[in-house]
C-alpha cells in the first residue's frame, strides 16, 4: 500500500495506516471544534470556549510521542489534547454541556477537562499555572524511579509569566523529565508575541536554564511528530527536561468574545493557507498514501462519532443539586 518515492525526505515516508491515523486524529479535533462553536451559538455550551482550529498538528504530533503511562498537563485550549489522549468525545461534550457524565462531572466545563485514567491533568486556565505542576509530576516520577515523561503544553503568552522561569529552572536544576511544549501561535489573546517578549525566538529561552531545545513548524504534523519523538527520547533517555517550541497559528478568535481587532484578515487567511489538515491531506494524496475514499471515510466516521457524542451529552443527566458540595473535599480519609 505504502509507496516509497525516491527523493522524498525521511519525514515524508509515512505508511498509509499511520497517515490515515494522523489525518483522522486531526480531523476529529477540527470537527469537534466546529461542533463546539455551533453548540455555543445554540447556547448548549456556555462560559469561555477556546478553540484549537489550526493547531491540530501540535497536539496530534506531540501526543504520538507519548505512551499511556506518561502524563499530560494542558491549558484551557485543550479539547484536542483531551480527545487525542483518549477521553471520549461524549465525555468531553457532556462536560461542556455541564452534565453529570462529563469528564469532570460538569464542574469544569470547556477549560477544565480531566481524566485520571488517561493521566490527563487538565484543563488549567490560569496561564502558566500548569507548569509547576508538571515539574512536580516529573519529580514524583523521579523520586519513585519511574521512567515516565510529563508533557506540559502552554502558549507563547505563558512564557512571560514568572512561573515559566521558575519551572524551567527547577526542572533543569533537578533533572526532571518534563517535555515543555510551547504552542506558539503568535498571540496571547490580542497581544502579539512581539509585544510580550523582548526576544521573540522562544526556543532560545531554554539556553539560560541549560535545557535542550528545538523549534518546529507546528503546521506540519509529520515534522511535529518526528521532532516530538526525538525530544521525548531525549527526556526519557536523560531524565532531563526539553523545551519544544511548535510554531503554529489559531485560525479562530481567542475565545467566543474576541472581535479580533489585533490582527488582519489577510494574516489569518495566509495562515489558513497552511492548514495542517489540508496540507497534510494534500501531500498524502499527491503521494498516493491516502485516497479520496480514505478521507471520505474518515469524515464519515468522525461525523458519526460527533453525532453520538452530542446524543450522549444531550442524554446525560444534570448533576443533582444535592451533590453541589461534593468534591470540595475528598470523601475518604486514608490516601
Amino acid at each position: 500500500m505504502h509507496r516509497k518515492e525516491s527523493g522524498k525526505t525521511k519525514t515524508d515516508m509515512v505508511d498509509s495506516v499511520h497517515a490515515r491515523h494522523l489525518l483522522h486524529s486531526m480531523i476529529r479535533i477540527r470537527r469537534l471544534e466546529e461542533k463546539c462553536a455551533e453548540l455555543y451559538s445554540a447556547m448548549k455550551i456556555r462560559g469561555f470556549l477556546h478553540l484549537y482550529d489550526g493547531e491540530e498538528a501540535v497536539a496530534v504530533g506531540v501526543l504520538e510521542a507519548l505512551t499511556g503511562d506518561d502524563a499530560v498537563v494542558a491549558t484551557y485550549r485543550e479539547h484536542g489534547h483531551a480527545l487525542i489522549r483518549g477521553i471520549g468525545m461524549g465525555a468531553i461534550l457532556a462536560e461542556m454541556y455541564g452534565k453529570q457524565d462529563g469528564c469532570s462531572r460538569g464542574r469544569g466545563g470547556s477549560m477544565h477537562l480531566f481524566d485520571g485514567k488517561a493521566r490527563f491533568y487538565g484543563g488549567n486556565a490560569i496561564v502558566g499555572g500548569g507548569l509547576p505542576m508538571a515539574v512536580g509530576l516529573a519529580l514524583a516520577d523521579k523520586m519513585q524511579q519511574r521512567s515516565r515523561v510529563t508533557c506540559c503544553f502552554f502558549g507563547d503568552g505563558a512564557v512571560a509569566e514568572g512561573e515559566f522561569h521558575e519551572s524551567m529552572n527547577l526542572a533543569a536544576l533537578w533533572h526532571l523529565p518534563v517535555l515543555f511544549v510551547c504552542e506558539n501561535n503568535l498571540y496571547a489573546m490580542g497581544t502579539a508575541l512581539k509585544y510580550s517578549q523582548a526576544v521573540v525566538d522562544l526556543a532560545t529561552k531554554a539556553a539560560s536554564y541549560g535545557v535542550a531545545a528545538a523549534a518546529v513548524d507546528g503546521m506540519d504534523v509529520l515534522a511535529v511528530e518526528k521532532a516530538a519523538k526525538e525530544a521525548a527520547e531525549v527526556v526519557r533517555g536523560s531524565g532531563k527536561p526539553f523545551f519544544f517550541e511548535c510554531r503554529t497559528y489559531r485560525f479562530r478568535a481567542h475565545s467566543m468574545y474576541d472581535p479580533e481587532l489585533y490582527r488582519s484578515k489577510a494574516e489569518v487567511e495566509e495562515w489558513k493557507g497552511r492548514c495542517p489538515i489540508a496540507t497534510f491531506a494534500g501531500k498524502m494524496k499527491d503521494q498516493g498514501t491516502v485516497g479520496d475514499g480514505d478521507i471520505e471515510k474518515i469524515e464519515q466516521d468522525v461525523a458519526r462519532e460527533i453525532d453520538e457524542a452530542v446524543a450522549f451529552a444531550e442524554a446525560s443527566p444534570w448533576e443533582s443539586l444535592e451533590d453541589l458540595t461534593r468534591f470540595v473535599y475528598s470523601e475518604r480519609r486514608a490516601p
Binding site: G109, A125, I126, A160, G190, L261, Y262
Partner: protein
C-alpha cells in the same frame, strides 16, 4: 464620542468605566492604563475599547502576562510620579500579584515612616455567574478588604462606575476597584456632570423600617429586587450599598440597623471569613441591644465555583432566597 454636554446620559456600566478612564486621561497626563490586552485587543471586557486609538500605546499599555511584574511596575510608576491605572483582567489572576499588592503597595507608606505613598489604582473584574468555573469566578473583594494600607471599593451603580475612578486617582494611597463582570452590560443613565464621588460613605439606596439589607456590587441589585417584592407584601426593607469595603463606613449601616432592629447581609463572597462576617460582628459589637433577631448572612456556598449553570446559580445568593430569609426574619417576632 460622548454626549457629556447634554443633561442625562444613557450608557452601560462598561461605558461608564470607559468614560471615567477617558476623562482621567484627558484631565491628568500622569494617568495611564496598563494591563493585559487593554490596548490592541480592546480590553478583555471591552472596557478600554477605542482608547488605544485615542491615547496611543504608551498610555494604553498592553502588558505581557506578568501580573506580579506589571502590578509591581505600577507601584514603581506611582512612586515615580505617574498615576497608573493597572488593570488586572480578573481578580483570579491578581493572586499572582498578591505579593506586590500586600507586601509592597499596602505597606510602603507605613514602612517608610510616611515618606513613600503609592497613588496606584488597580482595577479588576470580579464575581461569578457566567459559567467560567473555579479559576475564573472568584469574588475576593471582601478578602482583600482584610488588608490595612489598601482601600477596596466596589462600584455597583453607573454613577459609581463613572465617579469612583477619579476619586481613587486623587487618593494618595493604593485603591483597588472591583468591577463585577456581570454588571458591564447594565444600562442606565448618569448625569452629564457625573464626577468624582465620595468613596468613604455607604449609601442608603432604599429606605425602609422593617429590616436593613446590607450589600454591594452585583448582589446589591438582587437586594433591591428582593426589597421591591417584599414591599408588595408590606415589608419595608432598607437597602444599603456599602460601596467601599475598606474603609468600611459602619456608621451608615449601624444607624440603619439601630432603627430597623434587623439586618441581613448579602454578599457573593464565600461565607466563612467574608466581609459579611465582619459586618455582622460590627453590628453585634455596636448595636447589640437594638437587635430583635440575630443578624443573618446570605453568601455564596463554600465551593470552588462549578461550571454547570444550575450548580453555579445554586452557589450564588438569589433574589428568592433574600425574600424568604427576610420574610422569616421579620415574621420571627415582628
Amino acid at each position: 464620542m460622548t454626549n457629556s454636554d447634554k443633561g442625562l446620559h444613557k450608557l452601560t456600566y462598561r461605558e461608564a468605566v470607559r468614560e471615567a478612564i477617558r476623562e482621567a486621561m484627558h484631565k491628568d497626563e500622569r494617568v495611564f492604563l496598563m494591563g493585559e490586552d487593554v490596548g490592541r485587543y480592546g480590553g478583555c471586557f471591552a472596557v478600554s475599547k477605542g482608547l488605544l486609538e485615542e491615547f496611543g500605546s504608551e498610555r494604553i499599555r498592553d502588558t505581557p502576562l506578568s501580573e506580579s511584574g506589571f502590578v509591581g511596575a505600577g507601584i514603581g510608576a506611582a512612586l515615580g510620579g505617574m498615576r497608573p491605572i493597572v488593570e488586572v483582567m480578573t481578580v483570579n489572576f491578581s493572586l499572582l500579584a498578591a505579593d506586590q499588592i500586600l507586601n509592597t503597595a499596602a505597606v510602603y507608606l507605613y514602612m517608610s515612616g510616611g515618606q513613600f505613598n503609592v497613588p496606584l489604582v488597580i482595577r479588576m473584574a470580579t464575581g461569578g455567574g457566567r459559567q467560567l468555573a473555579a479559576q475564573h469566578s472568584r469574588s475576593l473583594e471582601g478578602w482583600y478588604a482584610h488588608i490595612p494600607g489598601i482601600k477596596v471599593v466596589c462600584p455597583a451603580t453607573l454613577e459609581d462606575a463613572r465617579g469612583m475612578l477619579w476619586t481613587a486617582l486623587q487618593d494618595p494611597d493604593p485603591v483597588l476597584i472591583f468591577e463585577n463582570a456581570g454588571l458591564y452590560n447594565m444600562e442606565g443613565t448618569v448625569t452629564a456632570t457625573a464626577g468624582p464621588v465620595d468613596i468613604d460613605r455607604a449609601r442608603v439606596c432604599r429606605a425602609g423600617k422593617d429590616i436593613t439589607i446590607i450589600s454591594y456590587s452585583a448582589s446589591l441589585h438582587k437586594s433591591i429586587e428582593a426589597a421591591a417584592i417584599l414591599a408588595k407584601e408590606g415589608i419595608e426593607a432598607e437597602v444599603i450599598d456599602l460601596r467601599s469595603l475598606r474603609p468600611l463606613d459602619e456608621q451608615t449601616f449601624l444607624n440603619s440597623v439601630a432603627a430597623s432592629h434587623r439586618a441581613l447581609i448579602v454578599d457573593e463572597g464565600c461565607r466563612s471569613g467574608s466581609i459579611a462576617a465582619e459586618i455582622a460582628a460590627r453590628i453585634m459589637e455596636n448595636v447589640f441591644y437594638e437587635l430583635d433577631a440575630p443578624v443573618a448572612r446570605l453568601c455564596s456556598v463554600e465551593v470552588p465555583m462549578p461550571y454547570a449553570g444550575h450548580l453555579e446559580q445554586a452557589v450564588l445568593p438569589q433574589v428568592d432566597q433574600i425574600v424568604n430569609l427576610v420574610r422569616k426574619m421579620v415574621g420571627a417576632d415582628g
